[in-house]
């Protein structure tokens, strides 16, 4: 429960429509898409202006009340679960596309704007915003920025952090800062824009963002390649990029994933193969795209591809891409609980990593389906389990700890695009080390001395002991 004085102030500023603390609202803001995590906030507010956000944060800071910024709550790291209660700041009413600047090729948006809607608006003008997280039908740009969201096009075009060039953000003190701008070059001091991207709401609350746009590629071709042998698929990935071809999309799905996806979508995927690659190339010239696709085809054939299919039209291409886009949620059909991770390794180590995941899954007797952005080394080992089975959940946790360990030992990381949140906080030290954690905590201290911004995220009370992996 909020202090009655605080409650009164918020109610007075926002009215009862935009300040809510009834049971129904609290319950429906106690979760995000992360399994097995739920915690009630004390109140939910819906600001409409930067000034309101400033007042809310200043008040919360004075009273040491946790602030949890919330977009669509579709993240997978527990990023928007109010684990220490407090005020959830729902950004759904700050959802406007403020400007599309076709001279500077930038867009200025409010954080609550839906990612898919933004894509549609941008594409209508012949422009292109590449970050395309699988959750984009529901996710918000603010959420994408806070979690540093990736997507299927990361290999060629990078991720959200490569497109955010300016931010307006409110500090817990209530002060507002502006970073960057419509500038492709800007070295005035530390790069606070990049620092805030992926900060998971632990430093400041963003109220506006300036995003970089590209001219839309005119041509796109999509191909599906099946491999009887998963090694062949992994080797193809390395060889394609080794041949100086950077596909717009280079995705891998293992057999378990393929079977479930096909069962749900009925798009004619071959279910008897060990792996398929979904490959997309785009560009301005049909000739160049065709040549790339042809070279890729030859590489895959040389690596033992059993089936190579080129989408004949947009509809077919979209269907093939749908298969991959819905992989996570589709896996959810085969079990009550689905735990999805995003261990990431250098591209050259992708084959080793997939093999390690299979070995680890077998060791702990758990079912793990793997799919992901093979081109950029970002894999999604996904475990289908049941939260009610404590003994199995324990084995799942052990398996994932070992997967993270393996990823780091291959030169990778514990999370490529989901963020640390609460779920991976115990493993952060494995990746960044003691000194790394200290630097991060120091930065947090400067932004948020009272520690009200999304507490309990990124930094764990205690780090997990490292496992010793016998090779």
């Amino acid at each position: 429960m909020l202090d009655s004085e605080v409650r009164q102030s918020l109610l007075q500023w926002l009215g009862q429509e935009r300040f809510r603390d009834d049971q129904e609202t609290l319950v429906t803001h106690s979760y995000d898409a992360t399994p097995m995590l739920q915690s009630l906030p004390d109140a939910v507010v819906y600001p409409e202006t930067t000034a309101e956000v400033q007042s809310i944060l200043r008040l919360a800071n004075e009273h040491r009340i946790p602030i949890v910024p919330r977009g669509a709550a579709s993240n997978l790291c527990g990023g928007t679960v109010p684990v220490q209660g407090g005020i959830v700041v729902a950004m759904s009413r700050m959802n406007k596309l403020l400007e599309l600047d076709t001279v500077n090729l930038t867009a200025t948006v409010q954080p609550g704007l839906n990612t898919k809607k933004f894509h549609q608006e941008v594409e209508r003008r012949g422009l292109f915003y590449p970050p395309d997280p699988s959750s984009m039908v529901i996710s918000t740009l603010g959420g994408n920025i806070m979690e540093g969201a990736g997507g299927l096009r990361g290999l060629k075009y990078g991720t959200t952090k490569d497109y955010v060039i300016g931010l307006e953000a409110v500090l817990p003190s209530g002060e507002m800062i502006r970073t960057g701008g419509k500038l492709y070059k800007d070295v005035a001091g530390y790069d606070l824009t990049k620092l805030l991207v992926g900060s998971e709401g632990t430093l400041a609350l963003i109220t506006e963002a300036t995003l970089k746009l590209l001219p839309a590629p005119g041509v796109r071709q999509t191909m599906l390649v099946a491999f009887a042998d998963i090694y062949g698929a992994a080797r193809s990935v390395s060889r394609i990029v080794g041949a100086r071809i950077i596909p717009a999309t280079l995705e891998i799905m293992d057999q378990a994933t393929i079977r479930v996806v096909e069962d749900y979508n009925h798009i004619g995927l071959p279910t008897d193969v060990q792996a398929i690659l979904l490959i997309e190339q785009d560009g301005q010239e049909l000739e160049h795209v065709k040549k790339d696709m042809n070279d890729i085809k030859n590489i895959c054939a040389a690596e033992g591809a059993t089936d190579i299919r080129m989408a004949q039209d947009e509809v077919e291409a979209e269907q093939l891409m749908m298969a991959r886009r819905s992989a996570l949620s589709t896996l959810a059909r085969i079990s009550p609980t689905t735990i999805l991770e995003d261990a990431t390794v250098p591209r050259s180590a992708i084959a080793d990593m997939i093999l390690a995941i299979n070995r680890i899954a077998e060791k702990y007797r758990v079912n793990i389906c793997t799919f992901g952005h093979a081109g950029d080394g970002n894999l999604h080992p996904t475990c289908t389990t049941d939260a009610r089975n404590e003994e199995e959940i324990h084995r799942v946790e052990e398996a994932f700890a070992e997967i993270f360990e393996e990823a780091i030992s291959l030169g990778g990381t514990i999370t490529g695009e989901h963020g640390v949140g609460t779920v991976k906080a115990p493993y952060l030290e494995w990746k960044v080390g003691n000194a790394g954690i200290d630097v991060m905590k120091g930065i947090k201290q400067v932004f948020d001395p009272a520690g009200i911004m999304n507490p309990g995220k990124i930094f764990a009370k205690s780090s997990r002991k490292r496992l010793v992996i016998s090779k």
């Binding site: 129904e24 979760y31 709550a73 729902a90 529901i138 009550p336 009610r388």
Partner: protein, 486 residues
């Protein structure tokens, strides 16, 4: 289920309701929701409010919180459940295949029983809601009493026909005009007044009397026997549509049977939680069509069809009826699908006879044949439950010389949702007004639908826009019949 002990009935407590919900809700199904939120873009009430609790993910979280004992199923909970249209647009987009409709029905059925028990209790304090949506339903009609009142009419088709005589008399005798002139209905809520104005002319004969037979042989090559599900309200207010349905089926090569013993599908009862009555009606229909020995059962109302096609689920725990119910469900087909199966409509000649010999270039068409610009509003239950949303579109595309414009957001509910527009007028009208904005963008002069509720709702939309001169609303069947039948 009501308790046999009357003492328990008199002292309903929140705890009892909570326990009842915990018992009735399918916990596996609640667990199945992974809270990905993919349902939210498809949910009309979420799109209108932007409120998490007014979305499928939110409502499932509320149900689960109740089942987990985290939350009391209070008045606010009931209102949030009632605010759901039940359009089930969230189901086809759910990657985890959560059976939201079943969860909703389980919840409604418990709430319905509870309302019955607490009917004598005074009105509870209503939860205030700043959005103004839920407060609409602060004093909902006592559904149980309403059901008791209307059940006899729905139970017997003859009674429904006799009752409709009253409406017919009212409309034809000049009383309706008199009432309008003297503003006699001004004390009714606005939405009832609007409905009264747009209601079609009632026909107390019904389809069987109009075609003067209960069996009508196929024309041309026979391809099967179809049992005509005539509906209850459908048969009174849309008799012409039923007559056209029968004629089109015969023309397609089907023998048509109209079993006399059939009755209401039960949707009105099931959707408000009265599953007992729904089951009673289901058994009657299953029996009627089993005796008629048909290959398919034709439905021309998405709402009824969806109810009929789920009789297998409705009777899943009934050992005696389940197998028959499953067979019945398999036989249910939307009229569009049955027409599309026939070869008869594969090549429809141009309506404009003069064009027959000419070269069919778009140029010559534009010069000679005046084209209708039409658009189509989905019936949610036809699309999301019967999974036959493509049928009406395919059927319309068979017609030459018309300009079909897809309605943006056609897959979203129009706000009708059975009798939702009478129970939740504010939400229904907000949804409808947005819908009409999209209709205007199509430039269509005819809106087609495939369900009577949607048809009436779109008529209300036209009336609200004062667009009667430029916009017509028709059932797909009537439009198709008008174009192809001489």
């Amino acid at each position: 289920m009501s308790s046999p002990n009357p003492k328990v009935e008199r002292v309903p407590s929140l705890l009892t309701l909570q326990q009842e919900l915990t018992k009735q809700l399918d916990y596996n199904e609640l667990m199945n929701c992974m809270r990905c939120g993919f349902c939210q873009p498809s949910c009309p009430t979420y799109q209108e409010t932007g409120i998490e609790a007014a979305s499928p993910r939110g409502r499932i979280a509320l149900m689960k919180a109740v089942a987990d004992g985290v939350m009391e199923p209070d008045e606010s909970f009931r209102q949030q459940i009632n605010l759901c249209l039940g359009c089930r647009a969230c189901e086809p987009v759910c990657p985890s295949d959560v059976k939201y409709g079943q969860l909703l029905e389980q919840t409604k059925s418990v709430l319905f029983e509870q309302q019955l028990r607490s009917a004598k209790k005074n009105e509870q304090n209503e939860a205030a809601d700043g959005s103004g949506y839920k407060s609409e339903s602060n004093r909902p009609p006592n559904m149980k009493r309403l059901h008791k009142l209307v059940k006899p009419a729905f139970k017997s088709h003859n009674r429904m026909l006799s009752l409709s005589v009253l409406l017919e008399k009212y409309q034809r005798s000049g009383l309706q005009r008199y009432a309008a002139k003297k503003k006699l209905l001004r004390f009714l809520p606005d939405h009832f007044q609007t409905l009264e104005r747009i209601l079609p002319q009632a026909d107390s004969q019904g389809v069987a009397k109009r075609v003067n037979a209960s069996f009508l042989p196929a024309k041309g090559e026979r391809i099967g026997t179809v049992g005509m599900f005539r509906g209850c309200i459908m048969d009174v207010l849309f008799t012409e549509t039923n007559v056209n349905t029968v004629n089109l089926l015969r023309e397609s090569g089907y023998d048509v049977v109209i079993p006399e013993a059939q009755g209401c599908c039960g949707a009105l009862f099931s959707h408000s939680g009265d599953l007992e009555t729904a089951r009673e009606f289901a058994k009657k229909n299953i029996q009627a069509f089993a005796e008629a020995k048909v290959d398919y059962i034709a439905s021309n109302a998405g709402g009824c069809g969806a109810m009929l096609i789920e009789y297998d689920y409705l009777l899943k725990d009934d050992a005696e009826w389940w197998a028959q119910a499953e067979h019945f469900s398999e036989q249910i087909k939307d009229i569009s699908e049955l027409l599309l199966r026939s070869e008869r409509w594969k090549s429809i000649e141009s309506i404009d006879e003069g064009l027959a010999d000419q070269e069919h270039t778009s140029q010559s068409r534009a010069n000679h044949a005046p084209q209708d610009t039409i658009t189509y509003q989905d019936s949610c239950h036809l699309r999301n439950v019967m999974k036959a949303g493509r049928g009406p579109r395919q059927l319309l595309r068979l017609l030459p010389d018309l300009n079909y414009v897809e309605l943006e957001g056609a897959e979203g509910c129009c706000g009708s949702a059975g009798i939702y527009n009478l129970l939740q007028p504010k939400m229904a009208n907000d949804i409808l007004d947005h819908k009409m904005g999209k209709v205007n963008e199509t430039g269509a002069s005819i809106i087609l639908t495939s369900n009577p509720g949607c048809l009436l709702q779109m008529k209300i939309g036209v009336e609200r826009e004062q667009a009667q001169d430029r916009l017509k609303v028709m059932h797909v069947v009537d439009y198709f019949a008008e174009k192809v039948m001489k």
